[in-house]
């Protein structure tokens, strides 16, 4: 079965025109001025993994559109008792879900769900694979600050290998011709990473990544996903931590982004996190209108 219309499983297979439409619609969304586009609809939030930002902003987005939300977490539900992914899907479908928003530790879990269940499925992050709503809100944030993608250079620094945020960002930015530079040690930025999409290059040196860069996207070192991979943290900090001195290498008006949660003192210093170029909290703020657009699209209400 093909995924239901309105599903958002990833950025990779989304057309640029559709992304533009989503971002334009997001600009018209404002949680302080609720619009009942999804009045009476039921949004099931199926979270198999912990989340603060994504979960709360999807919930606020759904409620701002007049929908009901139900949160199901792995702990405290039948998932804990061994119910399979699809059985949980069939169950929430029968309960009357109109949209399923799913966060899952396994890559492709939303795809399996969408292949079997005739309800729009929205990927809120699947394993190492994609995090499309994050990429969209980041694009929204970039456009708010830089007006256009044209001629932009974006450096993504850190743990690319374990990052679904990085994969989605690369797909999205590549579709708009942005120059993408991936920067980090070989264990976290394997050579194969540049094959993800056109227009990506890799480097091991921050100086190289930052020179002429308009946007710096930092990533958290995901200790929980390293699975035996040993990273020398002091060495990582010495080579890749974003500090005030390094930030000066980028363009004067460069902005610093991070999908969160941030670990101060590891991938960035407090000075950078709290500094004038940081847009980290703006990203969180932009998550709500972006996700309002995603939910409206899921119900065919993005008009």
């Amino acid at each position: 079965m093909n995924p239901a219309r309105g599903s958002l499983l990833g950025i990779e297979h989304l057309e640029a025109a559709e992304i533009v439409r989503l971002l334009q619609f997001a600009r018209r969304m404002n949680p302080d001025k609720p619009r009942p586009l999804l009045k009476g609809k039921r949004v099931l939030l199926l979270f198999y993994e912990s989340s603060t930002r994504t979960r709360s902003s999807f919930e606020i987005a759904a409620k701002s559109l007049g929908a009901h939300t139900v949160l199901i977490q792995a702990i405290g539900s039948s998932i804990e008792k061994g119910e399979s992914l699809l059985d949980t899907g069939y169950t929430v479908r029968s309960v009357g879900a109109d949209i399923i928003v799913i966060r899952h530790p396994n890559a492709g879990a939303p795809h399996v769900m969408a292949e079997h269940i005739d309800v729009p499925v929205i990927n809120a992050g699947d394993g190492l694979h994609e995090h499309p709503s994050q990429a969209l809100l980041d694009a929204y944030t970039i456009l708010r600050n830089k007006k256009t993608f044209k001629g932009l250079q974006v450096a993504i620094v850190g743990d690319i290998f374990h990052s679904r945020v990085a994969r989605s960002a690369c797909h999205l930015l590549s579709k708009f011709g942005v120059k993408i530079i991936l920067c980090g040690p070989p264990e976290l930025v394997p050579d194969i990473a540049i094959t993800l999409a056109p227009g990506i290059r890799g480097t091991r040196h921050m100086e190289d990544a930052l020179r002429g860069t308009d946007v710096v996207m930092l990533l958290r070192v995901q200790k929980e996903r390293l699975a035996g991979l040993r990273i020398d943290l002091p060495e990582y900090i010495a080579r890749y931590q974003m500090n005030t001195a390094r930030l000066k290498l980028a363009k004067k008006d460069a902005i610093v982004m991070h999908p969160g949660p941030i670990i101060r003192g590891l991938e960035l210093t407090s000075e950078v996190a709290d500094g004038p170029q940081a847009r980290i909290l703006e990203e969180v703020h932009n998550g709500v209108p972006t996700r309002m657009a995603i939910l409206a699209r899921a119900m065919g209400k993005m008009r």
Binding site: S84, N106, A107, G108, A109, G127, E130, I192
Partner: protein
Amino acid sequence: MTEKKRASLANSSLLIKGGHLIDPAARVDAPMDVLLKNGRVAEVAAPNKIRGRADQKLDARGLIVAPGFIDLHVHLREPGQTHKETIPTGTAAAAAGGFTSVCTMPNTIPVVDSVEWIEWLREPERGAMVNVFAIAAATQASQGTALTDFRALQGAGAIAVTDDGKPILEDAIMRRALVLGGELSLPVVQHAEDTRMTENCSMHAGAQSFRLGLRGMNAAAEASIVERDVLLAMQIPHARLHVAHLSTADALKSVRRGKRAKARVSCEVTPHHFTLTDEDMRDYDSNYKMNPPLRAASDREALLDALGDGTVEAIATDHAPHAAHEKEMEFERAAFGITGLETALALAITRLHREKRIPLMRIVELFTAGPARCFDFRGRGSLVRGSFADVTVFDAKKQWTFDAAQSRSKSKNTPFDGWKLTGKVVATIVGGSLVYSG
């Protein structure tokens, strides 16, 4: 079919008439008639030159007549996992695929590591439709720590030993297995995977695995084990190493090196590895998930060359049935393995013969004389007079569409559902009796 009925058929005679015989072991590639009598090949002669009489005739005009196919690598799932497959369903699928003999793997529940289980597998009550040969576990419970009793297992009928599903990882254990196996002329079948490198991995490591966010198995995880095993086999007198489901170009280099050094090293390749690559996988479709995984295009090319030039002895299916609920789930959690018995010949003809121009003689060898040599099948793999009356008759030109729903296997986990293929089994004869006609 009841045992009685089969026995009566076996005592009868069957003339296969008008076909084109390909018997690589006997170097025959010509129109020939074949007379089967009392479970054996009674006569092979030019058309209309058979002297003996026959009760029954099989019209093989326009068809290829070959020795019964031998599959060195099948998971029949008994004992213990009859929800996936049973000996009757698995061997019915084998018969439909033209296989008259299959070797069943010991990674069952419990593991087949004792004489009792080998004997149990060989009892007529199991209801096998084709010959079933048991491969015993190489280590107790396939835990990789203590070898099983090779001599006793061989005495009970085990044809080889393996810990398939897992590697024999410890150097000392593998060395000891090759020494003991060498003394008994018992092949040690290695599932070559350095599992220290493949933890949590669900496909081949490459651009595709990176894109899908799936942890990838490095080709080196296979090649390094094959390299070690070949080096050991070169050092140990009479050692017999058989590399199961070989999938990488680098592993082939080691196998070639061993063969050049005259070590007794053999290997098998599956139809899915010579047909598909990691790029062919539909996103998160677990019918493309198996171990070893679908590899890079360069690996597939190397396998095609090795199948053509004789480096590879056998095509083996690694038929690995799983119930739908064990497959339709998160890709990383889904079971490894696909079914393969009913599509093997057609994939070989479609990919190896029609596309790669490998002669039918060589393809038949990969299903018959080649595998027979690997595990010393006596009286099988050829149709010379006196051989067992195991015959596969197929139409090398017939085009058909594989429908997994019609599979005789209990499970339908295959990536080849709906594929248009060329080459179809028409009749499968085991011990002189027809067990499949299509």
